[in-house]
C-alpha cells in the first residue's frame, strides 16, 4: 500500500522513465563507447615539448603558405568572386554570390589595410587561417588520440597536402570553413573531456561561434559540421546526463536523468545553434547595410534563387567536374591557373600552373586508414575514432544525392578526417600496437604512388625491398617494423611534397617535367592534366 506521504506522480513524471529507458536502450551501444578522459590520456597537461612542436609546425606551415604569396599577381580561379565581393563591400555596394560573405569580408578587411593593388593582400587572410589550421589540427589530434605523435602527423599532413596548400594560398572559401569546423571539433572534445560546468558551457559557446563562422563561409557544406557536433554533444550528454548538474535529492534517478538530459539538450541546441545562427546572420549584414536586402524575406528569396541556380547546374557538363566516388582516388585534378611562356625562335616553353591536386601518398593512405579506424572504433568502443569515421563518411555521403556537377575540392572536409585517421593509424605503428594486417594495409597504400612515380620496374623493386625489410624487422622486433612503416610513409609524403610543389605554387616547369608530374593522363575521368 502506498504511503500517504508519497506524492502521486504527474503524467510527465510517469512518462519520463519510459523515455529514458527507451533512449537508453536505443543508445545502449554508445554507452559502451568511451570518451578519452583527461585522466585516461597518456598526456598530462601541456608541456614545453608541445609548444616546441606547435611552433615548429607553424613555422613550416607559414613558410609554405606565405612564400611568394603574391604569385600569380592575376586573379586565379574563383578568386574573381571573393575579390569582387570584397571590392564591392569596400565601395559600399551589396554583392550577392552563392556563398555567404565571411571570406569576402576577411578579404575586404585585408584589402582595406594593405590596399587592393596587391594580390598578396587579398590572399593574406587565407594564408593566416590556413597556417592556423595546422595548429588547430595538432590540438585536435592531441585531444582525440592522446598522442603527440598522432597530433604531429595529422598537422604535418595538413602542411604537406597539395590541396590544403593551394587553397591556403588563394582567396577561396574552403580553408576558412575547414578551420572553423576543426575548431568546433576541438571544442566538442573539450566539452566531452571536461567535468566543470562552466568550462563545458564555454566550450559550447566557442563551438557555436566556430560553427557560425564556418556556416558563414560556404553554402551548406559546413552544416554537416553543425549536425555532427550537435549529435555528438547529445550523445555525450546521454552517456552521463547528470554530469553538468548536482543531483537533487528526493527524485528517482530515472526521472532525474530524463529531466537533466532534456534540459541540457535544449540548452545545448539553444546555445550552440543560436550562437551559430547569430554569427551566420551577422555575416549577411553588409547586404542589408548597403541596401541590397531590406528584410529577411529578401534573404529567403536569395535561398530560393540559389536553390534554382544550383538545380540549373544539374544538366550542365563541366570540364573539371568529377563524381564523389572518384575523389578518394584523386582521379580528376583541377587546373586553377595556368600560364605558358614561349621562347622566341626555339621550341622551349615553360608552363607555370596551380593545380588542385593532393599529395597522392596521403590521399591513398587515407583510403586504407579510414576502414582500419572504423574497425578499431567498433572493436575498441572508442567514440573519438567513431567520430572521425562518421565525419569522413558524412562529408562524403552528403554528395551522393546532389545531382549538380561536383569538384574535387568538395572532398576536403572528408579528407581532413582522413588525415586524422591516417595519423592515428601511423601512431599505432609507431607505438608497435598495430596488427600486421593494419601495417600491411598502410604499406600497400604506398604502392600506387611508388609505381607511378618511379615506373613499374623500379617501383616494384622498391616495394619488394620495403616488404622484405618489413617482414625481417617484424620477426626481429615488432616496434621496429612499425617505425619502418611510419618512416616510409613520412619519407614518401615529404618526397612527393617537394616533387609536386612547383605545380601547387606556380613555379615554371618545362613541358617534360610538367608531363612527368601528370601521373594520370587518360582520356576519361582519370586525368590530372
Amino acid at each position: 500500500m502506498r504511503s500517504m506521504s508519497q506524492k502521486r506522480p504527474t503524467v510527465t513524471e510517469r512518462a519520463e522513465p519510459d523515455v529514458v529507458s527507451r533512449l537508453t536502450r536505443f543508445c545502449s551501444v554508445f554507452h559502451r563507447f568511451k570518451i578519452l578522459q583527461p585522466d585516461a590520456s597518456t598526456l598530462h597537461g601541456w608541456t614545453s615539448g608541445d609548444t616546441f612542436i606547435v611552433c615548429g609546425l607553424l613555422l613550416i606551415a607559414s613558410a609554405t603558405r606565405f612564400w611568394r604569396l603574391n604569385h600569380p599577381i592575376v586573379i586565379a580561379f574563383d578568386e574573381t568572386y571573393t575579390t569582387a565581393q570584397a571590392y564591392c563591400f569596400l565601395n559600399g555596394l551589396p554583392y550577392r554570390v552563392s556563398h555567404p560573405a565571411l571570406e569576402a569580408l576577411l578579404v575586404a578587411l585585408s584589402m582595406s589595410i594593405f590596399g587592393i593593388n596587391n594580390s598578396w593582400s587579398w590572399r593574406l587572410p587565407n594564408a593566416i587561417i590556413g597556417t592556423a589550421l595546422v595548429g588547430v589540427t595538432y590540438l585536435l589530434g592531441r585531444r582525440l588520440f592522446g598522442s603527440r605523435v598522432a597530433a604531429t602527423m595529422a598537422a604535418l599532413f595538413v602542411v604537406l597536402d597539395g590541396l590544403f596548400l593551394v587553397d591556403s594560398r588563394l582567396a577561396l572559401w574552403e580553408i576558412p570553413y575547414l578551420t572553423f569546423a576543426a575548431w568546433s571539433y576541438l571544442m566538442l572534445f573539450r566539452f566531452a573531456q571536461t567535468g566543470d560546468t562552466r568550462s563545458r558551457r564555454i566550450a559550447l559557446a566557442w563551438m557555436g561561434l566556430a560553427l557560425g563562422l564556418g556556416l558563414g563561409c560556404k553554402l551548406l557544406i559546413p552544416a554537416i559540421a553543425l549536425v555532427l557536433t550537435l549529435a555528438f554533444v547529445a550523445l555525450f550528454i546521454l552517456q552521463d546526463p547528470t554530469r553538468m548538474s548536482d543531483r537533487a535529492t528526493g527524485e528517482s534517478p530515472e526521472a532525474y536523468r530524463s529531466a537533466a538530459f532534456a534540459r541540457q539538450l535544449v540548452g545545448v541546441i539553444a546555445l550552440v545553434g543560436g550562437l551559430s545562427a547569430l554569427v551566420y546572420e551577422a555575416v549577411f549584414l553588409p547586404n542589408y547595410w548597403f541596401g541590397g536586402w531590406r528584410g529577411v524575406t529578401d534573404q529567403l528569396a536569395y535561398y530560393a534563387a540559389e536553390f534554382r541556380f544550383q538545380n540549373s547546374l544539374v544538366t550542365k557538363p563541366h570540364h573539371w567536374a568529377s563524381p564523389w566516388w572518384s575523389w578518394p582516388l584523386m582521379l580528376r585534378a583541377m587546373l586553377y591557373w595556368n600560364e605558358t611562356a614561349f621562347v622566341a625562335g626555339t621550341t622551349s616553353i615553360q608552363t607555370s600552373s596551380i593545380r588542385a591536386l593532393g599529395n597522392p601518398v596521403i590521399w591513398w593512405g587515407v583510403l586504407a586508414a579510414v576502414p582500419l579506424m572504423a574497425v578499431q572504433a567498433v572493436s575498441r568502443k572508442d567514440l573519438a575514432r567513431g567520430f572521425v569515421v562518421l565525419g569522413y563518411l558524412s562529408y562524403l555521403a552528403m554528395w551522393i544525392p546532389v545531382p549538380r556537377y561536383k569538384f574535387l575540392y568538395y572532398y576536403m572536409p572528408a579528407l581532413y578526417f582522413g588525415f586524422l585517421a591516417l595519423a592515428a593509424e601511423l601512431d599505432e605503428c609507431w607505438r608497435g600496437t598495430a596488427h600486421v594486417w593494419e601495417e600491411a594495409a598502410l604499406l600497400m597504400s604506398l604502392a600506387p604512388a611508388i609505381i607511378l612515380g618511379l615506373g613499374t620496374r623500379l617501383g616494384m623493386g622498391v616495394i619488394l625491398a620495403l616488404a622484405t625489410s618489413y617482414v625481417v624487422l617484424r620477426r626481429w622486433d615488432k616496434r621496429s617494423a612499425g617505425i619502418l612503416v611510419c618512416f616510409s610513409f613520412l619519407l614518401a609524403v615529404l618526397a612527393l611534397f617537394v616533387y609536386f610543389f612547383p605545380i601547387w605554387t606556380g613555379i615554371p616547369l618545362s613541358p617534360e617535367r610538367l608531363q612527368a608530374r601528370m601521373w594520370l593522363h587518360g582520356a576519361g575521368l582519370a586525368n590530372w592534366n
Binding site: 574573381t80 568572386y81 545562427a277 546572420e281 524575406t297 534573404q299 570540364h319 605558358t340 614561349f342 622566341a344
Partner: protein, 273 residues
C-alpha cells in the same frame, strides 16, 4: 603668292595626308597572307609544340592559285601548338586583324585557339570564330608599345583536338588610341621581346622576382577585372528589387541574441526545474 605656288600647296597637303595613310596601311607581318612558301611551310613563320613528341599535331598551309593562303594548325591529341613570327615595331599603337575559324572543337575539353601576341608571361589574343561552328570570324586586337620592341605574333591551338585556320593576317599601325570598347593591350618594355633569348629573360625574371612594371600591369588588369565583376553584380543585385522590411532583420537579430543567452542559462542551472 604666285599661282604656281598656290597649285603646289594643295599638292603638298595631299602628299602630307597620303603618306601617313600609306604608312598606316603597311602590314608589318612578312607573308601575312601566307601566299609565299613551300608546301605546308609558309615563309617567315616558325612552329612550336608544347608536347615535344607529339606527332599528332600538324601544321599546314592551304593555297589556291592566285588567292591568299590559309594557315592551319590541327591536333588530334592534347597539345599546345603555335605558329609564330617576330616583328620589330616602333613605339605606338598597332592593330592586329585577321579572319579565323575553328573546326572539330570538343567544347567539353576546353580546346582554345588564340591569335594575338605573346610575351614571356602570356598570350594577348582574341579567340577566333564561333566555338562549335566552322564559320570564319574576323578578329581585332590593339596593342600599344612604349619602346621599340621585338613582338612575337602568334596563332595558337591548345587542347585535345580540332583545328584552327587563319587568313588575311595583318599588323598595321593606327594613328591614335582606339576607342574604349576596343580590345587593347598595353605592352611595356618588359613585356615585349627585347632580347633574342626569352628563356634567359624568363628565368632571370623569376630569379629576381617579378619586375615592378610587370606587376603593375598585371595588377591593373586584375583590378579592372574585379571592378568589372563588381559592377556587373551590382547591376544584377539591383535588378532584383528588395521587398522586405528592415524591422524583420532587427527582430531576427534580437531573437538570435536571446536564444544563446537562454541556452547558456539553461546549461548553468544546477538542477532541473
Amino acid at each position: 603668292m604666285k599661282p604656281p605656288q598656290l597649285i603646289l600647296l594643295p599638292l603638298l597637303w595631299m602628299l602630307f595626308c597620303a603618306t601617313p595613310a600609306e604608312f598606316l596601311d603597311h602590314n608589318f607581318l612578312s607573308n601575312g597572307d601566307f601566299s609565299q612558301g613551300a608546301g605546308n611551310t609558309p615563309s617567315h613563320w616558325s612552329t612550336a609544340t608544347l608536347v615535344s613528341s607529339a606527332s599528332s599535331t600538324t601544321f599546314s598551309r592551304i593555297r589556291e592559285s592566285g588567292a591568299a593562303g590559309e594557315l592551319v594548325i590541327s591536333s588530334i591529341k592534347r597539345d599546345t601548338a603555335r605558329r609564330t613570327q617576330i616583328v620589330v615595331l616602333e613605339p605606338g599603337w598597332y592593330r592586329l586583324t585577321g579572319e579565323a575559324r575553328t573546326e572539330g572543337f570538343d567544347l567539353r575539353t576546353r580546346t582554345t585557339a588564340l591569335i594575338g601576341i605573346s610575351d614571356p608571361w602570356q598570350v594577348y589574343r582574341w579567340s577566333p570564330g564561333k566555338p562549335g561552328t566552322s564559320e570564319w570570324g574576323a578578329g581585332r586586337l590593339y596593342v600599344q608599345l612604349v619602346t621599340t620592341s621585338r613582338v612575337e605574333v602568334v596563332c595558337l591551338l591548345s587542347g585535345s583536338g580540332g583545328s584552327v585556320s587563319l587568313r588575311h593576317f595583318r599588323v598595321t599601325r593606327v594613328a591614335g588610341e582606339p576607342s574604349a570598347s576596343a580590345q587593347k593591350v598595353e605592352l611595356d618594355s618588359l613585356s615585349a621581346v627585347t632580347t633574342s633569348n626569352r628563356k634567359e629573360m624568363l628565368l632571370k625574371n623569376y630569379s629576381l622576382g617579378m619586375e615592378h612594371a610587370k606587376q603593375q600591369q598585371e595588377l591593373r588588369r586584375a583590378r579592372r577585372q574585379i571592378e568589372e565583376r563588381c559592377r556587373k553584380n551590382w547591376h544584377f543585385v539591383h535588378f532584383v528589387p528588395a521587398t522586405g522590411s528592415y524591422w524583420t532583420i532587427v527582430l531576427t537579430m534580437l531573437l538570435l541574441v536571446a536564444i544563446p543567452i537562454f541556452g547558456w542559462r539553461a546549461l548553468g542551472e544546477t538542477k532541473p526545474r
